[in-house]
């Protein structure tokens, strides 16, 4: 597929394939957006490089997906914007089904902190070196990760407590 990259994104792709040649996997475009896939173990170095060298100072979003495939089931996507160059792209990493974990990027972008907690809460992806790593939506003692595909739509009956309807007797 022919790529139509702007100058900024061309610099990004060239810089990544040059400096992180071992970790750079592919670049592709779809519906007008550019996606760059890299190895999971280099994601912190790559993010730091993108912020310092290419001025991608704004992490708009960080989210997970459950592809429900037998290999590399989970995916974490970083949506990056350069306000200076008015450019955006998506950085993707794939993670295995067993014990998915990543390094946190919350010391590069502070906004990553809560979004990584959400990815952990919903998909069970662990982020190492996170400053405050715990669930963000579900109860702290909750046993499941509700956005995983095998999780039933209506939840596990009785897994979240309802208030007592006889408060006087408890």
């Amino acid at each position: 597929m022919d790529l139509e990259l702007s100058d900024t994104l061309k610099n990004v792709v060239d810089g990544l394939s040059d400096q992180f040649s071992d970790s750079f996997i592919e670049v592709y475009q779809s519906t007008g957006d550019t996606f760059i896939r890299v190895e999971a173990d280099a994601v912190v170095d790559i993010c730091r490089y993108l912020k310092s060298t290419h001025h991608f100072i704004y992490l708009t979003d960080l989210f997970g997906t459950d592809r429900f495939t037998s290999e590399e089931r989970f995916e974490v996507v970083y949506h990056l914007i350069s306000l200076r160059d008015r450019e955006r792209f998506f950085l993707k990493v794939l993670l295995p089904e067993e014990d998915p974990q990543l390094e946190s990027v919350s010391d590069i972008w502070k906004s990553a902190s809560w979004m990584e907690r959400e990815v952990y809460d919903m998909f069970g992806v662990h982020f190492n070196n996170h400053p405050d790593f715990r669930r963000i939506f579900m109860p702290e003692d909750y046993d499941y990760h509700p956005m995983r595909k095998e999780f039933p739509l209506l939840g596990i009956p009785g897994s979240i407590e309802l208030p007592s309807t006889t408060p006087d007797t408890e």
């Binding site: 579900m138 509700p146 999780f151 209506l154 208030p163 408060p167």
Partner: protein
């Protein structure tokens, strides 16, 4: 000058039940539990056009101690359910509950793990209002149903 001057002499007989129910049913102060878009319609219900004041329910009390009818307006998630039940428990008896809209009645379109599928899972609901969101008229109808219910209750009982 009070109303006594125009009434003249005389007397009036009734039952304590009827008198109590008459008073209660015409002063059912709502506890607005506005949780989502239904709360906008609930505001219209209280506002001048639909005018809940005609039924004595214009006093939205944001204090459970002073309210009689809890209007659950919107979808209830599990976290909020505990707060709602706590407020309900703080309301003095007698009290009534309206589940306003599809979400409060059944979970509505929020058919998912985080939303309680109907607030009757933890509250004794007296009136359900259909609609998404219901029009203010529908909420007035529910209020009138509550009034009918209050009027047919045995409100005074001998404590034997």
């Amino acid at each position: 000058m009070g109303i006594e001057s125009s009434l003249g002499d005389g007397y009036f007989t009734t039952k304590v039940d009827a008198l109590t129910n008459w008073a209660r049913s015409n002063a059912a102060w709502p506890m607005p539990m506005g949780l989502a878009c239904c709360a906008i319609e609930m505001m219209a219900f209280a506002g001048p056009k639909y005018d809940a004041a005609r039924f004595g329910s214009e006093v939205m009390r944001f204090s459970p101690r002073q309210s009689d009818v809890m209007i659950v307006a919107g979808w209830v998630n599990y976290k909020m359910a505990h707060a709602i039940r706590r407020i309900w428990d703080q309301m003095p008896d007698p009290k009534w509950c309206i589940a306003m809209g599809a979400c409060a009645s059944t979970g509505g379109m929020h058919r998912c793990y985080g939303v309680v599928q109907g607030c009757d899972n933890f509250l004794p609901v007296d009136a359900y209002v259909s609609g998404c969101p219901p029009r203010p008229d529908a909420l007035l109808h529910a209020l009138m149903k509550i009034q009918d219910k209050i009027r047919t209750e045995h409100s005074v009982m001998l404590d034997t």
